[in-house]
């Protein structure tokens, strides 16, 4: 950026600030004057109202006095008398009138309906008001009365002005103000006015001492000018000191190839750099923390993996009587120390136990459909154990070998959703039965409920793949989506339903029968003292070693497919020891439940964790360590 450009910017900013201040000054003066003149107008209007109000008050006073007299017997009798009686009544009549002491009245006259003056007193003047005297019987009543006489009052304007000033001390006469007609109203107190002369009075209300508008303008102008001057100077100072001057200086130095001073000139830049560095540091720490989590997870896995070899070592040590006692003691001590370290690591970094049978990262390995179904049903039984709905599972012999390559997550979603629908369709007590049958290339899952049934048009929509909504708070996938999933697997979905009887959802999915894992039913039972299921070969080896030493027959399995193939040969009373962490998607305690449902009931869970880490499981007879436990 050129120096000239910087100067131009500087000048522009200063010019704008100056113009803004001048505009502010002009606007302030304008607003001040508008407010002042609005106020003056309002005050004048208010004064006019106040003056009129004072007029009314005086008229009311005069009218009240006249009303008192005009209602008196002497007055009414006088009006209703002939000349003879009037002579005799006149003294009383005049006496009453005199008691009024109407100083503002120069004179008065009473005129009859025929126009005859029946009474007059005082002098007339050019300011007069003609008031009809209306009587309803003997009382004055300007609405209903008979107005056969008129009272004409002649005013003494000088006395009237004095009276008005007595009414309000602040009333002052003025020569140039707008006059207000004292007799312009159609009423005079409680009397109607038949006729009246003009009586303009020049009055104003005394104002409190106040500043002249010019003085106020001057004061405001000076104040604003001082403020503007100060603001202008201050702005210039700030611009020069913190922007213009440093920039000029830096620009000049850079132009001349000089380095920037370490202090002062580049403070701002240094601050920014510091900020960036600080951010980078924080990001680094965050990254390290993230890594620590990964490391913790790795350590946890290592610790878990170490527990099995340690168990083997411990078994061997116990049995290896040929090792000198001291060495055995040392080895046991080392074993205890390592076990303590693994426990510590596991307690610190233990990954939350997987409670979901199927996870997103599950590979599409061939899975036994019966096992998947058993797991899902177990979950549903636990989920809906408060409802009076019984969930049953049935399968034929062929179905045990039926496997599927489809995503377990999708399979679980679909079956779970259909099961949820089936359970929710039962409003009171009822049954849900899941039946699995299999042929050479397909498996059929029938989910039957004794619920309310579905309408044919709804079924048609679902089977057409149309999304339907019939549940208020549904959170899973819908039946229509399930249908789409199943079709994407190469399967099919059909629905048979009768309202108020129940619904059967029939799911057909292709199977992937693998002969190498297909179970060959052996009608002959095989005998063994116990079965161990553990994914860790070293553990199974240790248990086998221990069994040999105790002359017991042990059958071990390292994966669940082998278990499914071989376990049916054994008696249902055989003790089964199953590792909690089988290294796959299915946890040992979940598979144990499948076995339990197949009739095995002496099932023990082996684990490196404490017993308190597990919730009570009715199908598990006991939880023990991973060391061989062969009695």
């Amino acid at each position: 950026m050129e120096i000239n450009s910087l100067n131009a910017i500087n000048r522009s900013i200063k010019k704008n600030i100056t113009l803004s201040l001048l505009s502010l000054l002009a606007l302030s003066l304008l607003i001040l004057n508008v407010i002042y003149y609005s106020n003056v107008t309002a005050v004048n209007q208010q004064n006019k109202i106040e003056i009129s109000s004072n007029f009314d008050l005086l008229k009311s006073n005069i009218s009240e006095k006249i009303s008192i007299i005009a209602s008196s017997s002497a007055f009414v009798d006088y009006l209703r008398s002939g000349s003879v009686s009037q002579k005799s009544l006149k003294s009383d009549f005049i006496y009453d009138l005199k008691t009024l002491k109407l100083k503002d009245i120069n004179g008065m006259k009473i005129v009859s309906a025929s126009g005859d003056t029946i009474f007059s007193d005082g002098a007339s003047s050019s300011y007069y008001v003609d008031l009809p005297l209306c009587y309803f019987d003997r009382g004055l009543d300007s609405t209903l009365g008979d107005c056969s006489h008129h009272l004409i009052l002649y005013f003494d304007i000088t006395a009237l002005i004095k009276s008005l000033q007595k009414v309000n001390d602040n009333l002052i006469q003025c020569k140039h103000c707008t006059p207000i007609d004292f007799l312009s109203s159609k009423t005079f107190g409680s009397f109607n006015v038949a006729n009246a002369s003009k009586m303009p009075l020049f009055f104003d209300i005394k104002k409190p001492q106040s500043f002249n508008i010019i003085t106020i303008n001057l004061i405001v102008f000076l104040f604003m000018a001082i403020l503007a001057s100060w603001t202008w100077r201050r702005t210039n100072f700030i611009l020069d000191k913190y922007i213009s001057h440093p920039l000029k200086k830096i620009a000049n130095k850079l132009k001349n190839g000089e380095g920037l001073a370490q202090n002062g000139e580049i403070d701002e830049l240094a601050y920014l750099v510091n900020q960036i560095q600080d951010r980078e540091e924080k990001l680094k720490i965050a990254k390290e923390n993230e890594n620590l989590v990964v490391i913790g997870q790795m350590l946890s896995q290592v610790a878990h993996d170490m527990r099995s070899p340690l168990a083997v070592i411990n078994t061997i040590v116990k049995q290896a009587v040929q090792i000198p006692k001291r060495q055995r003691t040392l080895m046991r001590g080392a074993d205890q120390q390592l076990r303590g370290l693994t426990d510590n690591l596991l307690s610190q970094y233990r990954v939350k136990p997987v409670t979901n049978l199927l996870t997103e990262n599950t590979a599409h390995e061939p899975q036994k459909i019966s096992i998947l179904l058993s797991s899902i049903i177990s979950e549903k039984q636990a989920e809906y154990n408060q409802l009076p709905v019984a969930i049953h599972y049935k399968s034929d012999s062929n179905s045990d070998n039926a496997t599927t390559d489809i995503s377990m997550v999708d399979f679980k979603r679909v079956i779970s959703n259909i099961l949820n629908n089936a359970i929710e369709a039962i409003h009171e007590t009822g049954n849900v039965t899941v039946t699995l049958t299999a042929s050479s290339n397909s498996a059929i899952i029938r989910i039957n409920d004794s619920g309310v049934g579905m309408k044919p048009e709804l079924i048609e929509k679902i089977l057409n793949g149309k999304s339907v909504s019939y549940k208020k708070n549904g959170v899973g996938i819908g039946l229509a989506s399930s249908y789409n999933f199943i079709q994407s697997w190469g399967g099919d979905l059909d629905i048979a339903s009768q309202q108020n009887v129940g619904t059967t959802v029939i799911i057909t999915i292709p199977t992937s029968i693998h002969h190498d894992i297909a179970l060959q039913d052996d009608p002959c039972h095989e005998y063994a003292d116990l079965i161990l299921i553990d994914d860790n070969k070293s553990v199974t080896d240790a248990w086998e070693l221990s069994a040999i030493s105790k002359r017991r027959k042990i059958i071990t399995f390292n994966n669940l497919n082998d278990v499914g193939r071989g376990i049916k040969k054994f008696d249902r009373t055989i003790p089964i020891y199953i590792d909690s962490d089988l290294g796959g998607a299915i946890r040992g305690e979940q598979y144990a439940k499948v076995l339990y449902e197949q009739g095995f009931f002496n099932i023990y869970l082996t684990t490196g964790y404490k017993n308190s880490s597990f919730e009570p499981m009715s199908w598990i007879k006991g939880i023990i360590g991973k060391e061989p436990n062969i009695g």
Partner: protein, 363 residues
Amino acid sequence: MYSKRKNNLNLKCIFLIYAFLIAIASTNVYAAPDGSVNVITWWGYLDSPGVAQEVKDKCNVNLSHDTYYTNNEFLRRVSTNKTRYDIIIFSQTIYDLVKDQIPKNKVNLTAISEKFNPIIRNQYQHGNFPHNVIYFMHSLSGFLWNPKVIDLSSQDSVEDIFKKANKNIIVMIDDPVEIWNLINKTYGSKNNTELKNYNDTLQLNSANFKRLTQNATVYMANNYNQTYDQKNFAFAFGWSGDAIVYMKQAKKPFKFLIHPKLSYISSDLMAVINDNPQTICVAKVLMSKKVLDIVENNTYYFSPYGDYQAVKLPAYQSIYQEVFKKLPTIQWLEAPLSSADFEKMTNAWNDIQLNMRSTRDGN
């Protein structure tokens, strides 16, 4: 507070009557002091300039007349020592209050009655009045009604008439005797039609008055002037003369109902207080058919001569004819009252007026 005011009224009334008697007794001394004859009469009777001119022409004396609007006002005005009257014109209903005090002088006006309508003459003769007392004008009570608000017929009972008025404005004669008469004709014993003894009749009080007027907004006035201009003016129970005046003034299609049971003739009497020739002259002029024709055509009351041909206004003429046609059957309001009964009635009437005014204004 209330009883004190009432006592004051009683005392005031007694004082008025007493003062009235003194005034009457002393009128001979002060009569016609300055070439004028002083008369007190109902408002409107002698207002016509033609009357004063006739007096001036015939008697060479000025007619000075005072007017009043109620019997009570009449009594008050004649009772003051400030004014002396040569001739008094007043309602027959209060005749018994003053009859003993009207001086029996040489004035004899009975000959004038020879030219009266025969029925009126008979009624006058039946009254046995002194020679210096004679019938002046007559009126017929009835209902001036507004067809836009109410529909009255001669078949209606009194209760029906007031019921039809609902909450609208009605105007009642400002005369306790007339109202007392109306209450007794409506709710009183059928055997006691003459109303001779106040204590044997339904009393004039607020309860009976309210029973009579029911829910109507009531004004009591003889000069009901602008009330007929009110949108909800239903009817006025008053005298036929006033009714015709207001029908003429209002220029509205008001109607006047002569009710066979409720309409009756009220008479005004003229008493000549002194036997000053000028006074006698004026009395005779005032009783002349010529003057009474003027009065009749100005006030629409009925002259005792009963000459409907002298009447100029067609509406008045038709009523006039109807009245004199029915005259033999129409009742006469005599109500001979003692001063004590009149005092009771006056006090009761004052109370009623006060109550009605506060109720009306309160509304």
